[in-house]
Symmetry: C2
Subunit: 355 residues, 2 copies
DNA sequence: CGGGATTATGCAATCGATTACACACATCGT
DNA sequence: ACGATGTGTGTAATCGATTGCATAATCCCG
């Protein structure tokens, strides 16, 4: 595969039409062009027409670099996530992107891959680009560094996943009603032992993860249901998961329900359950966080605590842009961002049936 | 929710440490600081130390805007996709991002949502930011506009999805072996009628979609298998899909296999099949493009033509950065980017059993 | 020890857009 | 008719980093 011939050429690229070209073409000064483009300041109708025609003819687009340099506003948002492999980030990103686009903002993405070093590098890149705000989508590996950048003027906004000061706008708050509904239903069905299955612990712990666990444990315990925390390792190896599942269920008093703490884990658990010939939902009820068309398609049907990451993304972006003065007051018509449909399929546990 | 107090303030943000501050702090000129930072030009060991310490102490990060303005290199890539809701774009994006990060590049994303207007706007934004290269991830709604920008110096790189000149690097070429293997297997099992199910047609047609269909049709036809194209509408309404499936299978000579043309469609079809009580794979074999842990978890097991979008993303980015002179020759150790495992579960069609 | 090469550093122009300021003209009220 | 406003436009400084050129210091070798 041959490289393109001009690879590595220094000055690179065709001329590039600047504001001066437009000014010359329209027979005005650059100041006038700028004023016409931005709509700020005065400009007579005739001049405006002339300029716009020149812009059109030459295909002029102001350079974001120059503009950013001069005005210190880059019209750019950054989104930093801890693990871009997690499917929930796609709708989240999409939400952010759509709102950003609507206000002329660009979106830079960064994936720290849960690595301190990578994250540090990404943060530096984002800061170098002077993003007007940085949305952090999950836990941060380098809080010190982030704090430094924050002092340096970086506006940091934490997504619901990212924890931080507990406000109404936190994962716990958003998901609480759905979690309580789901746990209540489990208890009502007669379950008395529930396994709460998580992936390998992350360091630092993902805030959303902790919030979920705490609320689940509390809600269930209060209702007399024992919660057994299970950490699933080696989730990329189906066989390991399968044997872990077998082990979990082959105990004298096995859990009668499995609560999967994170979306990416769900298909792996389901696969293991199938491989281990565990009947759902008769032998164990299966409940998971997250959402995906696949979860809805899975048969036997499984219960899902849905999360509307797209709307979350929109909401975060809206709020950020409002803070930046780039968007109007975000409409506060908030649909619930997480839901649980009580009719979703879970079974009465075998032992509890005769109660 | 009160806005932050300084919302809308013009100059905005803390001072921001510039190269001049560093120069002053280190007692040298800005030129020297620049040379130390970039490693280009001379700088004595002692000076270098002093400068680096100042940089460290002040937390200086060069402004990408200023640098970009001066050098016309923004160290930024753009990725434009037609529909960010499609899960394959997540691994693809991830691949691009990882390679970009490794070379100090930032990644701007844009989602055209298959709208001409949105896309036009996104393209302008990307161009305004002077991305050094634009990766287009699927079909483009505004070829004229893209051509204009291209003439203006925008380097456009088409992902395998995006079609364009048919090179070794196209969706068709990548997927061909896997598609042929899958089709051959279908034919060998005795299937004689296969439904090829697509979502609503897009305008313009997605190149990958066309390539897939053409190759599937050709491969199957040659082997004496009839291919019945089915366009599935209203895929967001489970009931509509279910009745469409019923209708499709309640014919005198129904297809004995369903080939799902796109990943996002698969769970919807599966759900409909379950709702319609269609036994898999006995009544119809199910085969789909795409990949996701969910597909592997689905039971009864379904056959998948896998696509390694992460590696595709890496490969595209690697090639782009190489063209830009920012990365070394991409290693040409190419693992297959699409695979089909012939042992995957498909059944012999009922009618053909006694053959 | 002289002089060309090499190393080290500073000065100042430059990239493209924005905007404070100055100026010119038009309008209007009294 | 005069100044107060309100419009329309241009001049030039400015943002932060890079880099060509000039200058200065050092070195090497005969």
């Amino acid at each position: 595969m041959a490289p393109s011939p001009e690879a590595g050429a220094r000055p690179a690229g065709p001329p590039g039409v600047t504001i001066r070209h437009v000014a010359a073409d329209a027979g005005v000064s650059t100041a006038t062009v700028s004023r016409v483009m931005s709509g700020r300041g005065y400009a007579s109708g005739a001049t405006r027409q002339t300029v716009l025609q020149a812009v059109e003819r030459l295909g002029y687009r102001p350079s974001a670099s120059a503009r950013g340099l001069r005005t210190a506003r880059t019209a750019t948002l950054g989104v930093l996530v801890a693990n871009l492999a997690n499917p929930v980030f796609l709708p989240f990103l999409r939400g952010v992107e759509h709102v950003a686009e609507a206000h002329g903002y660009a979106v830079l993405i960064a994936d720290s891959r849960r690595s301190r070093d990578v994250e540090r590098h990404e943060l530096d890149t984002l800061y170098a680009h002077r993003v007007e705000a940085l949305i952090v989508g999950e836990s941060v590996e380098n809080p010190e560094h982030l704090a430094t950048l924050s002092e340096a003027g970086l506006r940091v906004v934490r997504a619901p996943d990212a924890g931080g000061e507990s406000t109404a706008w936190s994962a716990a708050a958003i998901e609480a009603p759905a979690i309580v509904a789901a746990c209540t239903r489990l208890a009502d069905l007669g379950h008395r032992r529930v396994a709460y299955v998580t992936g390998p612990a992350t360091r630092p712990p993902a805030p959303r993860g902790s919030a979920r666990r705490d609320l689940v444990v509390q809600t269930l315990t209060v209702r007399g249901v024992a919660v057994e925390p299970v950490t699933m390792r080696g989730t990329d190896d189906p066989d390991r998961v399968t044997s872990a599942i077998r082990e979990l269920l082959d105990t004298p008093r096995p859990p009668t329900a499995l609560l999967c703490a994170a979306h990416p884990l769900a298909p792996r658990l389901l696969r293991a359950l199938a491989d281990a010939d565990v009947a759902l939902p008769e032998r164990v009820s299966f409940l998971t966080f997250g959402d995906s068309p696949w979860a809805a398609a899975y048969r036997p049907a499984i219960a899902v605590i849905r999360r509307d990451a797209y709307t979350e993304g929109r909401a975060v972006a809206q709020r950020v842009l409002y803070d930046l003065g780039a968007a109007p007051e975000p409409g506060s018509a908030d649909p619930p961002l997480a839901t649980f449909d009580p009719r979703q399929s879970m079974a009465t546990p075998p032992a509890a049936a005769p109660r």
